[in-house]
Every structure is written in C-alpha cells, then in structure tokens.
C-alpha cells in the first residue's frame, strides 16, 4: 500500500485494483494452460511440411492452407464428419427422450426403491468400455449391425443414458413440486403434465444434458473404432486416428483435422450457453 496516498477511498481503490490485476493474471494463465494445446494445434495446422520438423521458427513465416485442403477435400474426413453428426444427433435424441421419461418417473411418480434404481443406472456407466467391448462386438455382429452407424449410435445412446437420467432427475426434482400437482389437479395425466409443463420448464436441464451427450458421442473413440470397419462408416475421431500412414505421420493434417472436428462442438457449446443459464422458473412460486 502506498503511504500518504490520501484518504480511505483511494487506498481502497488501489487495493481493488490490485485484486483485479491478480484475478486477471490468474485467469490469463489458466486460460493459456487450457488453450495451449489447442493453440499449438492451430499453429501446426498452418505450418508448411518443412517448418513442421524444425524449431525455431515457433510461428511459421508463411501460413499455408494445404493441410486443410488435403483433409477436407482429399481425405474421407468430410464423410466422417457427416457420420459423426448423424451418430451424435441420434444418440442425443434417443438418450434425452428415454432419459426424460425415466427421470420424470424417478423424480415425481410414486415408485418404490428410487435410490436403488438410480444406483443401478449409475453402476452401468461404471464398466470401463474396454470391459464390455468384446461382448458388445459379438452382440452387434449377431444382430447384423456390425459396421453400421446404427451400432455406434445405439451404443453411444445407451452409454450416455445414465448421465442423462441423473442430470434430468435432479433437474425435475428442482422444479417446484406444486407446479406438477397443479397440472395434475387441472386435469393432466402424468404424461401430459410432463409434456406441457415439466419439459418446457426443464429446458435448461435438457440443453445441458443434450450438450454433454452430444460431446461424449462426438468424441467417443473406442466403440466407434471397434464397431466400424469401412471408411464410409467411420466417425471423425476414428478417421483422424487412422491418418498416420505406414512410413510417416502427417502432423499438419492431423492438426488441421482435429481443429475441424473441435469447431462444431465448440460452436454448439457457445450456442447453448444461453439456455444453460437457469432462471426460467422465475415467477412460478414466490421466492
């Protein structure tokens, strides 16, 4: 603190400035720490092949779009992105629809043994994927679904379901009980009360759950790798992992591809942020 800097007010001002500066520094370093790898990928993706294996320069003298060109136009990545979108969207739809019904029942309907059910649901997601992958593969082959998008989407939906159920259950429980009761007394069946009253109010929760399931499915690697065989059925993470050839690893292409894969999810997260902010229940009950 500066001696003789004046009255209380200015000293408080200096302290506030100091605290702000500190917070700013912490945020910047945390941000750099998290985004560092992404930035490095971004730099790598615009380096020419010669610059890639040299250090310095850290930043290339001339940026090149050749990696992006190759990745998007000459590789099966574009197809894989479409596959990923289809798989993630259907996995999200299935797990949110099924999850909503489940969560509603667990949050509001008179069912015995709710904690047991929730525990069982959770326990299914505790199996490491590697432990279930062989029987799953055999199952999918037996069903004739091997090397199809249905197999991948279905697996993702099932694997993400516990997350959706848990998130939505806690969300439904947060909605005032009286609002559900009011809907029932006003003449709703439980289903109608769910559709007309609870789901619209749970929109922030649905958005969060959907986003998390989508991201999980979009990034999932092991199931997608095991259950698919042909280039035209691969999802994006698998496609990128299969980039390395026999004799060389195309670092620039991989960097470009991973950025391309990341962008849609990052965009979605930004878009959904508005919904994630709660406060939709304002005005329902006094509080």
């Amino acid at each position: 603190m500066m001696p003789g800097a004046g009255g209380n007010g200015s000293r408080g001002g200096i302290r506030r400035f100091g605290v702000r500066g500190l917070a700013f520094c912490v945020l910047i370093s945390a941000g750099l720490f998290c985004l560092g790898p992404v930035l490095w990928q971004a730099v790598t993706s615009v380096k020419s092949d010669q610059d890639l294996v040299r250090l310095p320069p850290i930043l290339p003298e001339q940026a090149t779009a050749s990696h992006y060109e190759r990745v998007l136009l000459q590789s099966p990545l574009a197809r894989s992105l479409v596959n990923s979108a289809v798989v993630a969207a259907s996995a999200t739809t299935v797990s949110i629809v099924v999850g909503s019904f489940c969560a509603f029942a667990l949050a509001r309907l008179p069912i015995a043994g709710k904690p047991v059910i929730l525990g069982l649901v959770l326990s299914t997601s505790m199996f490491p994927p590697i432990a279930v992958i062989s029987p799953l593969y055999l199952l999918m082959r037996g069903l004739g679904l091997r090397d199809t998008l249905v197999a991948v989407g279905l697996t993702h939906a099932v694997y993400a379901l516990p997350l959706a159920v848990w998130l939505l259950t806690s969300f439904f429980r947060q909605l005032p009980r009286e609002v559900y009761y009011a809907a029932r007394v006003d003449g709703c069946t439980p289903l109608r009360a769910l559709l007309s009253v609870l789901l619209p109010l749970a929109r922030p929760g649905l958005a969060v759950a959907a986003l998390l399931v989508f991201i999980y499915s979009w990034n999932e690697f092991m199931f997608a790798l095991t259950l698919t065989a042909s280039d035209s059925i691969r999802t994006a993470p698998v496609a990128v992992a299969l980039f390395p050839g026999l004799y060389e690893i195309p670092w620039g292409d991989i960097a470009a591809a991973s950025l391309v894969i990341t962008l849609p999810v990052a965009g979605l997260a930004a878009l959904f942020q508005r919904h994630i902010v709660a406060g939709l229940t304002a005005g329902s009950v006094k509080g």
């Binding site: 009286e178 009011a182 029932r184 005005g283 006094k286």
Partner: protein, 368 residues
C-alpha cells in the same frame, strides 16, 4: 357442487402416522376451514381430497359417490396452492385456459369458447389488462388472482385452498379474504380452506374443524368454537391473545387459581373438595384497572409485565405473586386507562365466562 364426506381416513408415510383417523362431513356449498398448527396433517388431508395421494385406509365420498380411487382429473376439484404454482412459461391467458385445454375430450371446449371463458374469469377477477403477461411480471396479489382464476374457470365441484393468503402482506390478505368471501357467496362452490391462521379461519368460514396431530379436535361454527372450546388444545389455539389457562383447585365454595378466587357456585355441583381443574379465561373477560381499585371486592393486585396496544385498547400481561409461585394472565385495560410497564394494577375477573377443563384428559367439563 358437492357434499364431501371423509370416512375414517388414515394416512401413513412409512412408519409415521400422519392422520390416525379422520371423519368429517362438509355440506354442499359450505365454506369449511381446517385449521391447525403446522405439521398437524391439514395439507396431507387436502392432497388426499385432491387425489394427489391415496389414504392408507378410509373412504372419500363426493355426493355419496366413492372417489377414493379416482385420479385428480376425474374428481373435478380445483386446488389453490400457497405458493400459487402458476406455470411460469405461460402467459396469464394460457395459465387460465390450461385446465380447459387439458380437459378430457368429452368436456372439451372449442378455441373461441375457451377464449370467452378466459375473458369472463379475467373480468371477474380484474385481470383483463394482464392477460398477456407472464407470472414473473406480476405482483403477489395478482399471481394470487391468477391462481384463483385458474381454479375457478372449470367451475369445479369442490374448491380446495391450501393457505392461499399466507404469502400476501397483511393489507392484501385482508382484502383478498373479503374477496374470497364474495366469490363464495356468488358461486356457492363447496370450499375447503386449510390454514394455520385461526383468525383467518374464524372470519372466513361457515364452519371449521380444528386439527391437531392428525386428529379432529372440534368441528363447529366459529362462534361456538370460540365460546365453547371442546378441550384445552382448542381453547389455547383459537382466539388471540390466547385464552389464559390456569391450574385451579376447589377450596370450599371457591375456585382458587393462584391469587385469583372465584365463586364455584355456577358450575359447582360436580366438583369435589380439593379437586384440580384447568381454568380457562378469555383475555377480554379479565379487566385491568388503575391501582386505586386494589382492595375492592373481587379484585387482585398485580404488576404489568407487557402492554400490547391493539388499536382501540390494549392487551396487558399481568404478573401476580401468590404463595404458590407466580401466575401470569393477559387481560384488557378498561377504556381510557393507559398504564405503563411495571405499574401496579387491580385485576378483576368477570365470572360469566369461565371455561373449565379436566387436567387429566384436557376435555371440557360439562361438555353439554
């Protein structure tokens, strides 16, 4: 409109018996209040009536028809909640129209008819200018009106209210109380009104039931409950300030409670010498007078502990120091007498309005 009958209703939540055994009959078109302290089971009772929960045993009859197993939507009841429970994502118009929109197909109305009904109810409750707002933009009183409107629009057979006014401020509460009474006079729908506020129950209801720990203590008209409380709980719970309840003993021709002595003649025959009784005296039957009156026939000297101005007069808490420990009573000041705390005063108990209870059972003596 319907007569509502509860026959030996009991309700257990796990191992807890919330309602041991309740039987009540509420007449067609009556405004019936159920009053009791929090946790006495009154909200549970209302949920059972609405069909949101099932009794463990017993039957609920509307006009003699057993509805115990019916879903809420098949009972044709409406329920107003303490926190209003409006649908926050809908406008006032949609909130009001909601019960008509979700009605079963055989009673469903067309869009224009629904709009007519919404306008009618909104006009009735003074909500016309608010139809396009959402609940979040309304004041507490306005939300309360919307909740009432949503309940009334279907013209239900039975109207249930769960402490509908307790979230409003005092002034609004008084005017809403008058409004509820007016609505009831006009619509004559059987109404069951649950509250912990005994003043509200007294001023609003045609008849009321006092509930404690899941048991009905007394069912009667407000005036009769006030004049002839059936037991110590009702005596202490109904009326403000609460009735003075004093341990008393029969001594010769007198009934003695601390320093207070009363002739037992009026109620006498049934009491034996030295029998213990609980003596109940309403604060308005105890008159506090200036100290000059000390020593006059029937007056007792005491010291003021607390003064609660009540507008026209004041409720005065007076301590007596008797030979068997201190006694405290609440009384009223005579008109024009403005005492101060720690003043000595003379206290006179008016004989006409004594209530006597059995200290063992809590029941009123001579309950005829």
């Amino acid at each position: 409109m319907a007569e509502v009958r509860l026959e030996r209703i009991s309700k257990w939540f796990g191992a807890t018996n919330v309602l041991p055994d309740v039987s009540l009959t509420i007449g067609d078109g009556e405004l019936f209040a159920i009053v009791g302290p929090s946790g006495c089971g009154k909200s549970t009772l209302l949920h059972l009536l609405a069909g949101l929960d099932r009794p463990t045993s017993g039957r609920i009859l509307f006009d003699g028809v057993d509805v115990t197993g019916l879903e809420p939507r098949d009972r044709d009841v409406a329920l107003v909640f303490q926190n209003y429970a409006l649908y926050p994502h809908m406008t006032v118009r949609d909130n009001l129209a909601f019960p008509l929109r979700v009605a079963s197909r055989k009673n469903s109305l067309g869009r224009p008819q629904i709009e007519d009904e919404v306008r009618r109810v909104a006009g009735f409750l003074g909500l016309e200018s608010l139809l396009d707002r959402r609940p979040g933009e309304l004041s507490g009183g306005q939300r309360q009106r919307v909740a009432l409107g949503r309940a009334l629009i279907r013209k239900p057979r039975v109207f249930l209210m769960d402490e509908p006014l307790s979230n409003l401020d005092a002034q609004l509460r008084a005017s809403m109380r008058a409004e509820l009474r007016r609505l009831h006079e006009e619509l004559k729908i059987t109404t069951i009104y649950v509250t912990h506020d005994q003043t509200e129950a007294m001023t609003l209801a045609d008849r009321l039931a006092v509930l404690n720990q899941g048991r009905v203590q007394q069912v009667d008209q407000p005036h009769d409950i006030y004049e002839r409380p059936a037991n110590l709980f009702v005596a202490g719970f109904m009326g403000y300030p609460p009735m003075n309840l004093l341990e008393a003993r029969v001594e010769g021709e007198m009934l003695r409670a601390g320093p207070i002595r009363l002739a037992k003649s009026r109620v006498a025959p049934m009491f034996s010498l030295h029998q213990a009784v609980m003596l109940g005296i309403r604060p308005e039957a105890i008159v506090v007078e200036p100290a000059e009156k000390i020593g006059e026939e029937g007056s007792v000297a005491g010291v003021i502990r607390l003064i609660e101005p009540s507008g026209t007069g004041a409720w005065i808490t007076v301590d007596f120091r008797g030979q068997d420990g201190p006694t405290t009573v609440i009384g009223t000041a005579v008109p024009g007498f403005v005492p101060k705390i720690r003043d000595s005063v003379a206290v006179v108990v008016q004989q006409a309005t004594l209530h006597l209870f059995d200290p063992a059972t809590g029941q009123r003596f001579g309950s005829a």
